[in-house]
């Protein structure tokens, strides 16, 4: 089945130690998104790619970066994780102009110790 896959499901990292979360898709969608969701809150957009065009939200901390080396893969890098970065990170895809919503991965739960 076509899908969005996030690895790992759970990630524990040390305070200040760089961590990378990955997302892959088999849908061949041109847009990929990273959302951050803290407990009992709405998902908050961090950034997204229209093809290779990177779009950063104004309030996304500089500590967060992203890479999209090809259509299928997208990475979220957190350079120096703080305790406040503990959250669920959700990757999603969509196709421009399509009217069927986003497809989300299962998420990566990040714990910072």
């Amino acid at each position: 089945d076509a899908m969005v896959i996030q690895n790992p499901r759970y990630q524990v990292t040390q305070f200040g130690k760089p961590v990378t979360l990955s997302c892959s898709q088999t849908l061949n969608h041109n847009v990929m998104y990273w959302y951050q969701q803290k407990s009992s809150q709405a998902p908050k957009l961090l950034f997204h790619y229209y093809d290779k065009d990177f779009n950063n939200e104004a309030d996304t901390p500089d500590n967060f970066q992203s890479r999209r080396p090809n259509t299928s893969f997208c990475f979220l890098d957190i350079r120096s994780p703080g305790l406040g970065d503990a959250a669920m990170y959700l990757c999603a895809t969509s196709e421009t102009g399509a009217l069927y919503g986003y497809t989300f991965g299962s998420g990566t739960r990040l714990t910072v110790v």
Binding site: S40, P43, L45, A92, F104, R109
Partner: protein, 110 residues
């Protein structure tokens, strides 16, 4: 920034009852979407309604949209215990990515 507010924040009903969740938003939109999220999981797309539509159905789901009031509602009929989840509305406006509301936590008691 958060576009939508949802009401109620939490809802507890008995199996077989209907559940209604409401969403309000602030700006003009292209479409409004509803998603479901089981605890600790990703979001699943339920239904999309375009700004020129007023009502849409999908199985036990009914969505309405009132662009003059900038509001939408999601009705789940004949609820089941398996419907227990958080439900989020999300709006798409211009070329901006989806912006999510605060969500409604639905508990369906068997």
């Amino acid at each position: 920034s958060q576009q939508g507010e949802e009401d109620p924040q939490a809802l507890s009903i008995q199996e077989g009852e209907n559940a209604t969740m409401n969403c309000s938003y602030k700006t003009s939109i292209n479409n409004l979407q509803w998603y479901r999220q089981n605890s600790g999981r990703g979001l699943v797309h339920l239904i999309l309604i375009r700004s020129n539509e007023r009502e849409k159905h999908s199985g036990r789901l009914r969505v309405t949209l009132d662009t003059s009031k900038k509001s939408s509602s999601l009705l789940i009929t004949a609820s089941r215990a398996a419907d227990t989840a958080s439900y989020f509305c999300a709006t798409e406006a211009g070329r901006r990515a989806l912006t999510f509301g605060s969500g409604t936590r639905l508990q369906v008691q068997p």
